[in-house]
């Protein structure tokens, strides 16, 4: 398996650069409209509520509940073959956005409390969610 290609790299751009810089520090940050405060993820040029293009970046808790999930049993990119099967979750975050990440734990269920964090060991920060004890 030594000849597997590298995992795909995100094509970062000026709009998303703050997201990836924060991710490398282990923080989940998203755009907040500097005018009306609406949060948005993924990064967009303008606010779809007030159409202002001014942005501040804000850190999220990465806490939420499972919205849905899938288990990949087939690798559509060869770099992921060694990781099969792996679970992908979409998570409703407390702040009202949704995030997609890898899942570490038993088979998830919709509504399950989850806590996210970034795995920063590899070339690309990876958003990981794990079961969270309800508080």
């Amino acid at each position: 398996m030594t000849d597997l290609p590298a995992k795909p790299q995100p094509p970062r751009n000026a709009l998303s650069e703050p997201y990836w810089e924060a991710a490398a520090r282990g923080e989940l940050m998203v755009q907040a409209c500097a005018s009306c405060g609406k949060l948005r993820h993924y990064p967009r040029l303008i606010c779809d509520r007030c159409h202002d293009d001014a942005v501040s970046w804000t850190a999220l808790s990465a806490r939420g509940v499972i919205h849905s999930w899938t288990v990949a049993h087939h690798a559509f990119h060869p770099a992921f073959i060694p990781e099969l099967p792996y679970t992908i979750v979409t998570v409703d975050l407390e702040e009202g956005l949704r995030a997609l990440g890898r899942w570490i734990g038993e088979t998830p269920f919709i509504g399950q409390p989850a806590q996210g964090r970034f795995e920063t060991d590899g070339p690309v920060p990876e958003l990981i969610f794990e079961p969270r004890a309800e508080t």
């Binding site: 795909p8 995100p10 993924y42 919205h67 049993h73 087939h74 992921f80 269920f109």
Partner: protein, 384 residues
């Protein structure tokens, strides 16, 4: 001005569907186009509008140069994946109704054998998927099966939709494909075969997923008043519309990921046609995955939201059922040419030229397209 009954499907054409074609996508597209134009009783130089489908199609210029078209009056690109052919019907109808063109060619060719352009490699080549490419592909979430699976999972959990109901869709499609000489998958399957097929992206098994195949398909859309003297019984486009879901570029961020653009489009098309879903005799529903068929019956109002699973059970959508669906075998069992084969099949059904899968006395049908994570289009068609 209503677009209802202003345009007709006058010609249909398909190449052999297969895997392992030695022809390029453009060669297949040209071959299907010639068949559709001849079927309409026209010459290639009669085409005065062209809508090439997909990212590997020939351009309008290619058609002018290869067909020797003296005066192409219209061309467009419809960038909505599997919804493109159905949405192109809306465009073509409006253009012929507006008097701009008489005969518009909608055409597609695909060779997955000849390219590296397979399902998992495709997403990140398409600009509308840039969020997936940047934020999801690096985590191993890139193929349509993976991206749509959470929609299906949520539908199962919220509404009790079952593996057997997905299987009922797969089995019905295969039963239809067996009746079709130009279908790739001809071996009978059972619900048990479906359940035992290998898991791809839970809850999608292999038999929930559409085919990767080579082939071309094309249709000619003509102004209704230019269609009366052409060879075939006229098939009118009585209602046609398009719709887009919220958060169209990312399913992940969609408030209700089980809702598609078709739910916005369908009421418009049925109202334009002056009919209701229960009036429909035959349905050709975009079937990238079994779940997508279930979902679209709900979106169009054939049943209530959450009842699509029960709707497809009991043989309703199979041969001889109350609503025969994907009578050609669909993307699941005939071939995957982005759903242009669904438009071809509906026209054949309404001409009463659909061979062993002919629905007796079919006079009213619906065809849908679904693509790019939720864009939708549909047309209600009527036999003259």
């Amino acid at each position: 001005m209503s677009l209802s009954d202003k345009a007709c499907v006058t010609g249909v054409g398909e190449t052999l569907y297969e895997r392992g074609s030695t022809q390029t996508a453009f060669e297949l597209q040209i071959a299907a186009s010639f068949k559709a134009i001849a079927d309409a009783g026209l010459k290639p130089t009669d085409i005065d509008g062209v809508i090439p489908i997909g990212i590997v199609s020939g351009t309008a210029e290619d058609f002018i140069e290869n067909f020797g078209i003296p005066d192409l009056r219209f061309s467009a690109v419809i960038p909505h994946g599997g919804a493109s052919p159905a949405i192109a019907l809306q465009t073509a109808t409006a253009i012929v109704a507006g008097g701009i063109c008489k005969h518009i060619l909608i055409t597609f060719g695909r060779s997955v054998t000849a390219s590296v352009n397979k399902a998992g490699a495709r997403i990140h080549q398409m600009p509308q998927f840039h969020y997936v490419t940047e934020f999801e592909h690096p985590l191993g979430n890139s193929a349509p099966a993976q991206i749509y699976a959470p929609m299906a999972r949520r539908h199962m959990e919220l509404y009790g939709t079952t593996v057997e109901q997905f299987g009922a869709v797969a089995v019905a499609h295969r039963e239809h494909a067996i009746l079709n000489d130009n279908a790739i998958m001809k071996k009978p399957i059972t619900l048990e075969d479906h359940r035992n097929s290998r898991m791809i992206a839970d809850p999608f098994r292999l038999f929930d997923c559409s085919l990767e195949s080579d082939g071309g398909a094309a249709v000619v859309i003509s102004a209704a008043d230019c269609a009366a003297d052409l060879p075939h019984h006229r098939v009118f486009i009585s209602g046609v519309s398009a719709g887009h879901p919220d958060s169209p570029a990312s399913i992940t961020q969609r408030d209700d990921m089980t809702s598609l653009g078709l739910s916005k489009a369908a009421p418009r098309a049925f109202e334009m046609a002056g009919v209701k879903p229960e009036d429909i005799d035959v349905a050709e529903i975009y079937d990238c995955f079994t779940y997508a068929v279930i979902r679209q019956f709900e979106d169009m109002g054939f049943c209530e939201k959450g009842e699509g699973g029960a709707f497809v059970e009991g043989g309703r959508i199979g041969p001889g059922g109350a609503l025969p669906t994907n009578t050609h075998g669909g993307l699941l069992s005939q071939a995957h040419v982005w759903g242009l084969n669904h438009i071809v099949e509906l026209a054949r059904q309404l001409r009463h030229d659909a061979g062993r899968a002919q629905v007796p006395d079919a006079t009213l049908g619906v065809v849908t397209g679904y693509g790019d994570m939720g864009d939708g289009g549909l047309a209600v068609m009527r036999r003259e």
